[in-house]
Subunit: 338 residues, 2 copies
């Protein structure tokens, strides 16, 4: 029987993060730290780039999915997994399910990127598309779980998942330490907050003074709003965003208290800034980064935060982007001063 | 005064390669080794991917350029550098020249990719465009050198440059050894042969039994032809190739004897195979690879060589590609069975 950690004031600890690192080590890649002289020069800073687009399944989401799935007991494995996801968590769950021989059902919105839906199907999982405007994905997921006995692995508001994402923060801090550096600042993309809450704890196990920031698409920046007001708030979400992976408008119940304690603040970026970051990654880093994966880089390039003279880490959180969208982005010449 | 190594039977040695590694360590990135479960699964092999598109200046060419430029004496530095290049060697030379405070002139063909010409200019070097069909770049280079006293750093047929590229082979072999593996096979892209000759020596310092292959675009596969016939031969070059970096139709005077001794053979790939490799790198590796940088991957994916059950290393040699060309490539659906 899996023992669920207590949820009151839950946060990943140095011990639980280390245990997760050991648990997932066989399946997850220790992605490298990259640097760009061009970026360092532009910002007058040292920026350590963590490319989790190079992670298996194409995003950091593999870490949380692994940390949960590897703790399922035999009876739970036999019943399968159900989850909901705009794409990357679904890709990670389906990847893990395939490799562990577990069945999986993934609820995905009709407007999810083609490459993500196809990827989940190629991994052998069942895709159930739903209408974001009319259906409640958590309700459908709960119903499937009730009928089939499948275990729900939510995309962010889950202790195992948060602790899995925390391995990323710990890994970055360890890699920085190996390079003889200490982090002043670290920026992580944010949707429901599973990544940034966990990663902040992970960084702080080794470098407690690092200032951690969430980065969200403007209009969907519920974490920034919540951090500013001190309580869980929902962003208006009246606009659209190119960042298909970051459209959750409010932080989670578990993730927000952790972020309130560990984060220095929340940043927001607009689509044009994200596109410029994708072009920069194409041109200077030779990396394929998806819109939601480029927000931390976008915040630096747009000057949303000044890191002059500092050592910073940024996450490129994923690289699963439809070829047509990527092609349009890299061949578009910006009209503004960006 | 720089002492030129003797050219008869020149080949990089374990000592000269190690000296080059130490020399360039401060400026060149030790690019990581990446793996793709997808690729390993497709081929039934273990493939270590060396992404030199992540190298500074966007290609492996930095290594040779650094190894030569760092051995210029003060008088030579004052007179500057002149070279000719389809792009990547020019980018590397201009990058090195900028960082060492040396002036540089780069002869480039009119049809060189825009991003390469612009990149050389952005680095502050002088670009002299020439007409491939009417002008001899080596003659123009010699004339500039004679008039200005500038030192010629040729793109491949030069002991310093070859030894610089050899650091790449040594680095791959060391990284494989660190991972507890020994290489059965290694594939390197080839134009004039500076890379593959040096890299073969580098791999063989540590793993003398590895079978090394050059990979060239069909029609420009002078190395394959020369290896097969035992003497330096020029490929017909009657067609065109998407691989702008690999259009030298014959191996160099210095590079061929080394390759004859160290290579197991020469492979060729056609444009459609290269495009498929670029798409694979986009989709599965999340890497931006230029056509000439993708030929080794193309040879594996196309089954040009069977590596079932083996441990292989392949080089992704560069990532400097015009956005329009890359966009067209990743959005094109192949019509054949490839």
């Amino acid at each position: 029987m899996t023992v669920q950690p207590p949820l009151d004031h839950f946060e990943p600890t140095a011990d639980s993060i280390q245990a997760a690192r050991d648990r997932i080590a066989k399946y997850a890649v220790r992605t490298p730290i990259l640097e760009s002289q061009e970026l360092n020069g532009l910002l007058g800073a040292r920026v350590l780039i963590k490319p989790e687009n190079l992670q298996r399944s194409g995003s950091f989401k593999l870490r949380g999915a692994l940390n949960r799935a590897l703790q399922l007991n035999t009876a739970e494995r036999d019943c399968g997994i159900v989850t909901w996801s705009s794409g990357n968590h679904g890709l990670a769950i389906s990847f893990v399910a395939k490799h562990l021989g577990i069945s999986a059902t993934v609820l995905m919105p009709y407007d999810a990127p083609k490459t993500k839906v196809e990827g989940v199907r190629l991994n052998g999982a069942t895709v159930r598309l739903y209408d974001k405007t009319k259906e409640d994905r958590e309700e459908i997921g709960a119903q499937i779980a009730a009928e089939s006995g499948a275990v729900i692995i939510p995309p962010y508001d889950d202790p195992y998942v948060i602790t899995g994402q925390a391995t990323l923060g710990a890994e970055i801090a360890h890699q920085a330490a190996e390079m003889g550096m200490s982090l002043d600042v670290a920026l992580f993309s944010c949707s429901g907050g599973g990544l940034v809450s966990g990663a902040a704890c992970g960084v702080h196990t080794l470098m407690p003074r690092a200032a951690i920031y969430s980065v969200e698409p403007a209009g969907f920046d519920g974490m920034a709003l919540s951090l500013a007001t001190g309580e869980r708030r929902k962003a208006p979400a009246l606009c659209t965003s190119i960042c298909d992976a970051l459209l959750v408008p409010a932080p989670g119940k578990l993730t927000f208290p952790i972020c309130r304690k560990h984060l220095a603040g929340g940043l927001s970026v607009v689509d044009d800034e994200v596109k410029e970051a994708i072009r920069f990654a194409y041109r200077e880093l030779k990396l394929v980064v998806e819109p939601g994966g480029a927000v931390a880089l976008a915040a630096l390039l747009a000057g949303t935060i000044d890191i002059t003279g500092k050592t910073a880490a940024i996450l490129l959180s994923g690289g699963n982007v439809d070829a047509e969208k990527f092609a349009t982005c890299i061949t578009t010449v910006p009209t503004s001063g960006i």
